[in-house]
Symmetry: C2
Subunit: 349 residues, 2 copies
């Protein structure tokens, strides 16, 4: 069918390269489109009022993003909503509505889809979001979930990826790498189970990292805190693909460099110990493991006093001139260029 | 994995039954949600101004909604946008932005995705819509396209499915059944080609119905005409699943009955002749064939003078008391209950 003489593999571009390539020539036609492709959400302004509309979408594919042999459908439903809400919080906005499109193979019964929906609706209730529409169709293989989220923000409070300035402080909420290590544990237990179905899964002492993987939360609380403390981040992104990759996005779009301090990267002891148990470097897990759904943001130094004693914020570095590059300063004090080894949905597996 | 003791097949509910079942207990939490599940688009109001935001989404799955052996990717891209825009026009609104999520197997090259995108962007340009975001990921089999569309409407001009009144006139734009007959021709040529790959496809004299199937348009012109003629339809829906099925939706949600006149159903001669050639009843093709993306709407009798001479509007019936039922009045004058044999994405194939 494709009689092209050239054939370029999608994996050679990667997900971000592909999106950039496909969307770089788009010209915005409507004055209501304040921000199109290239941030966590699009920003739309229909009313000339103080509020803008935010829109984002994420697609989850069975066998690529989730494995139903160990992910309960209710958790999957919850998480599939959370990953979308997180994109709206990353704009300093509040999600208000979602639409849900599902493609389902005939392997799924009504009861199984009810489970999935119950998790989705649980997330909606918890975050005050309405499910307002969607589409349901069949698929030839497996489950595909596509959610679009619509939210609102104060027009002058929206935070983009491109506003970080030299000397701004780089901060992150919560801790990192947990969701990735939770996934490693689940994958290990799956292998054990495959080898011997009578073996009981050994998940003891892994509750925190399993919850990070199976039932993550979105950081609505951080956005509320920004409002309460009158902090206006200069740039923000959510950590879905891994810390290193997200820092590169902020630096790239803000046209700045960065010094990230290894010793400052927040890690939970359970994630740290489990990484060691798996002979993995905890720092690399924190830098490259995705799905933590924490918020990575920059603030002006003048806001430091407001955040320094907050338990759930960590200053992990600062922004520099673009020419200085994007660097990781190791515990020993040496500086290395940061490598984005984030999860790439189009990478050859 | 699913250890449910009961197992209800999704096909036993059908697409509309499933959606109804899953969404009937949803409670709206945000005052900004004016209309949730149950119409062509959700209606959202963030600003308390005169404009509301409309949101809709559609998912297209390879092997279910399209067959790449005869659908060019550029046409598929165009059509995938059109089907979404149509939902916004069906609310008497104007689409302004779309997001596009794709899941792709590694069978697709960059060049093939560029083709798909070029069709999408062509539709965006033609209809004045901005592509503002999306998601791109891999799939284990085939192509899945999920598009969300965001639009705007005057708050007091939005047309829902539930406003038809007894004695209102039932009208439709354009003609019906063409997209379905175009599909039959394409399927026939595919079979011929499979049997003998040296055979050239015989598509002569089928240009109109092939275009209806492969490159449909959305009825932006009709919405503009409503504004120009100061017509406020009392209810509206787009014809995506088949005329009969859409009439049932209007009647069901408006709590009225209907008399539909077979002789009034607009058909193109090419669709009529091709149906005969395939030994199909043209009326059944027009009633049950989907994908025409025409607008089906009701207007007050007092608006009849405004529409009676318009070439692209046909009055095909009128609304009655609910107790009278939903009926098709045949050419011979006998009345039969209308059967919705619309396309069901969850039906067992």
């Amino acid at each position: 069918m494709f009689d092209n003489t050239t054939r370029t593999e999608l994996s050679s571009l990667g997900e971000f390269g592909l999106i950039k390539h496909l969307t770089e020539n788009i010209e915005i036609k409507n004055t209501s489109t304040l921000k199109g492709v290239g941030d966590d959400a699009a920003v739309i302004n229909y009313s000339d009022g103080e509020k803008v509309t935010l829109v984002s979408t994420d697609m989850l594919v069975e066998g690529v993003h989730f494995d139903l042999t160990y992910v309960p459908l209710k958790h999957l439903g919850f998480k599939s909503v959370i990953v979308n809400l997180s994109d709206i919080y990353a704009m300093n906005g509040h999600p208000k509505q979602i639409t849900v499109s599902l493609a389902l193979s005939n392997r799924f019964s009504l009861e199984s889809i009810e489970e999935l929906y119950s998790g989705m609706l649980m997330a909606c209730t918890k975050y005050g979001v309405d499910m307002v529409g969607g589409d349901t169709t069949s698929s030839l293989s497996g489950l595909i979930i596509s959610i679009a989220v619509i939210g609102e923000a104060e027009k002058n409070k929206v935070v983009y990826r491109n506003g970080a300035k030299e000397k701004d402080l780089l901060c992150v909420s919560g801790d990192l790498g947990g969701a990735y290590m939770g996934l490693q544990v689940l994958e290990r237990e799956k292998s054990v189970f495959k080898a011997n179905p009578k073996m009981q899964p050994d998940l003891e002492g892994k509750d925190y990292i399993l919850e990070r993987q199976l039932k993550p939360e979105a950081r609505q609380d951080i956005i509320k805190l920004f409002a309460a403390l009158n902090i206006q981040p200069t740039s923000m992104i959510d950590v879905s693909d891994g810390l290193a990759s997200e820092i590169m996005h902020l630096c790239d779009q803000s046209n700045v460099g960065c010094e990230l301090y290894e010793e400052k990267i927040p890690m939970d002891p359970q994630m740290f110990d489990t990484a060691k148990e798996f002979n993995l470097d905890p720092t690399i897990c924190a830098l490259s493991g995705g799905e933590d759904y924490e918020l990575l943001f920059t603030i002006s130094q003048s806001d430091y006093e407001k955040v320094k004693n907050l338990p759930d914020f960590t200053v992990i570095g600062h922004m520099t001139k673009k020419e200085s590059g994007t660097n990781l300063v190791s515990r020993s004090g040496t500086s290395h260029p940061l490598k984005a080894q984030g999860w790439d949905a189009l990478a050859k597996k």
